[in-house]
């Protein structure tokens, strides 16, 4: 009894630790007062102001655009890298390649950002491209580290997948490229989708790398928030964060509903298959 009490206490403490700050943020987005930390009554005026704040909205739009492009590019590159690691056997330089793929996962963001900035500046001086820094350079920079995550996810999915599926397709006459698009790709699709979402989130979240490689007129949302903190945070940020959380949790809720339904369906199917093979008793 005593032990159960302790466990329950630990559980609630854990929940509180995780969710009280978020709950506070949501509550204060409906605060009448301009001061974030003083409650002045219920109001939705910050939401109204948010929708009139062009700077904040365009930063959010830019962030979403960068995140979508980053996620798409890193899914393509990461899948190719994961495929090479999981399916091409022990080619020369495989260990080095594997290490280099995962290096961005542990590299400090400051170093990634700085080195990319130097690269872009040098490139511009040599070739004239990229013409200044902006959405293109942010996307490229984000892709360099997010594709590492995608590669790891895709690789682990490929390793756990039965390789004889691909062999069977080849045995039945499909050429390797066809095998990839008709068999491998549909089977690793869940990994690719989760890789895309992860890359999207990482890009949306990033402030360090983006600050290095962004230029004038291309300020991402985290950069705006980060810099506005210096002048005192506006409750509009709370409102924006609440809206983003609403979108994300709705997405997660729908996804888990769909998954639970699929799981139940699969169980029913397997049940059915087993029952059919059991001979009916004679009357």
């Amino acid at each position: 009894m005593k032990r159960l009490g302790f466990l329950a206490w630990a559980l609630w403490f854990g929940y509180a630790f995780l969710y009280v700050p978020i709950a506070l943020l949501v509550v204060y987005s409906f605060n009448e007062s301009r001061l974030v930390t003083v409650w002045g009554g219920f109001s939705t005026k910050w939401y109204a102001e948010l929708f009139n704040n062009d700077q904040l909205l365009s930063a959010a739009g830019l962030s979403l655009q960068v995140a979508a492009m980053t996620a798409t590019a890193s899914v393509v590159l990461g899948t190719i890298a994961g495929l090479a690691l999981a399916r091409f056997g022990r080619f020369r330089g495989r260990t080095l390649f594997g290490g280099m793929i995962t290096a961005p996962l542990v590299m400090p963001e400051v170093i990634t950002g700085l080195s990319l900035l130097l690269l872009f500046v040098a490139l511009e001086q040599l070739t004239g491209w990229p013409d200044g820094r902006g959405i293109t350079t942010i996307t490229i920079a984000h892709t360099t580290f997010t594709m590492a995550y995608v590669a790891v996810i895709v690789q682990s999915r490929l390793v756990s997948m039965d390789e004889s599926l691909e062999e069977a397709a080849m045995d039945l006459g499909a050429r390797p490229a066809k095998v990839f698009f008709v068999i491998t790709l549909p089977l690793i699709a869940p990994a690719i989708v989760s890789g895309w979402l992860l890359a999207f989130t990482l890009s949306l979240d990033d402030v360090v790398v983006a600050s290095f490689v962004s230029g004038p007129g291309s300020t991402t949302l985290p950069m705006v928030i980060f810099s506005s903190v210096k002048f005192g945070i506006s409750p509009q940020i709370n409102a924006l964060a609440t809206l983003m959380m609403l979108v994300v949790s709705t997405g997660i809720f729908i996804a888990s509903l769909v998954m639970a339904r699929q799981h139940r369906q699969k169980q029913r199917d397997e049940q059915m298959a087993v029952q059919e093979t059991v001979p009916r008793p004679l009357r």
């Binding site: 004889s164 599926l165 069977a168 045995d171 039945l172 089977l187």
Partner: protein, 383 residues
């Protein structure tokens, strides 16, 4: 305990006919993975219409050999010819061969119908014909009403049939089967063995089956190659392999066997006499063995070829006869297994059919018994 081959002699034995050319020819093939030699200098000829089994334990190289035929592995040395064509450099998708995988490898995102149609679609067969041939194939394996199902909606036995249908729908001349019955339970396995044999005879396709189950190999195949450590220990019909094993390994791998060490004391053209301390008697064989007199040999005697009796049988002359005490009896219903400890200390296994009811069992624990067997039951192993 091993089941005798049940195949009808429906055709001549092509490997006996020098005019026949083999359909699959494996010539001195070696496959090494780094330092590990999986297949070591193997040569084999397999003829059209055969049901050929590659039998061996795990790590014997049987699956590697099969994968080389399919084109998933390239031989380190040696050549493989299928229908007279050198297979070197020909990728799996261009070989006239189909394979059924141990895991079945059914595409989980496709229905049964789409799985079976996959091979035909790759060849650009017209849609109408695909539909016809898939339906025909599904009827053949009695899965017509499951056409729209996904693989996870099927039982193990049904999945096995889908895999079989998918590998046969392209009408290959040669079908490779990797442990085709390995994932089925015992009862279903026995039933499916006969179905496979019937299907193979009906379609006239050459089958090469990899299996670790000796009973399965004996029941289904026309010939068996027993493999051990990447080397072929013996090739022959099930009867040859069982009755005339050439080595100790083959004798012990297929069924159970009693081994007596002995010394050749008399080696004539029409008979051999071997003195065996282990058996405690002279072993008499009614045919000559080309071996030096005085050589030490092993003699194999199958448990079911030994008769037990409480009194010495009439006409017994002390040859091929041992005495001992029954130590263990295992009653299996149709037969019983007796473990008899000979006076020399060696334990011998004897199987005898239960011709009478168990309650009237004539021989029981701790009985002193005579073990006798016929001259032909002795198999001299020189290797």
């Amino acid at each position: 305990m091993a089941v005798q081959p049940i195949r009808k002699p429906t055709r001549l034995e092509p490997w006996q006919d020098p005019a026949q050319t083999p359909y699959v020819r494996i010539e001195k093939v070696t496959k090494a993975f780094g330092d590990f030699v999986a297949v070591d200098d193997v040569s084999l000829s397999i003829y059209r219409g055969e049901f050929f089994a590659l039998l061996g334990g795990s790590g014997s190289g049987k699956t590697t050999l099969l994968r080389m035929l399919a084109g998933f592995e390239t031989p380190t040395e040696g050549k493989i010819y299928i229908d007279g064509v050198d297979m070197a450099g020909i990728p799996p998708y261009e070989r006239p061969v189909n394979m059924m995988f141990q895991s079945y490898a059914l595409f989980p995102h496709m229905s049964v119908e789409q799985n079976v149609a996959f091979g035909l679609r790759q060849d650009g067969v017209p849609k109408g014909e695909i539909r016809e041939r898939v339906a025909e194939m599904l009827d053949l394996v009695q899965l017509g009403r499951f056409a729209k199902r996904k693989p996870h909606q099927l039982s193990g036995g049904q999945r096995q049939r889908v895999a079989l249908a998918r590998s046969l729908v392209k009408r290959p001349k040669l079908l490779l089967l990797d442990e085709p019955l390995g994932a089925l339970d015992k009862r279903l396995r026995e039933q499916t063995q006969f179905e496979l044999v019937n299907l193979q005879e009906k379609l006239g396709v050459t089958f090469i089956v990899v299996t670790h189950d000796q009973e399965e190999a004996m029941t289904m195949s026309s010939r068996i190659a027993v493999m051990n450590h990447g080397v072929i220990a013996q090739v022959g019909t099930p009867t040859e392999i069982y009755e005339y094993p050439q080595s100790r390994f083959v004798a012990e791998f297929i069924g159970s066997v009693n081994m007596f060490e002995g010394r050749v004391v008399e080696d004539e053209a029409d008979h051999v006499l071997i003195r065996s301390e282990e058996a405690g008697c002279n072993l008499y064989i009614d045919h000559g063995v080309s071996g030096p007199e005085g050589a030490t040999v092993a003699v194999a005697v199958r448990p079911e070829k030994i008769a037990l009796s409480k009194e010495p049988p009439p006409g017994a002359d002390g040859r091929n006869m041992a005495r001992g005490i029954v130590r263990e009896i295992a009653y299996l219903g149709d037969v019983s297994i007796y473990l008899v400890e000979l006076n020399t200390g060696k334990t011998v296994r004897v199987t005898a059919p239960n011709l009478t009811r168990r309650t009237e069992m004539p021989i029981t624990w701790d009985d002193s018994v005579y073990l006798t067997w016929q001259p032909f039951a002795n198999v001299v192993l020189t290797q």
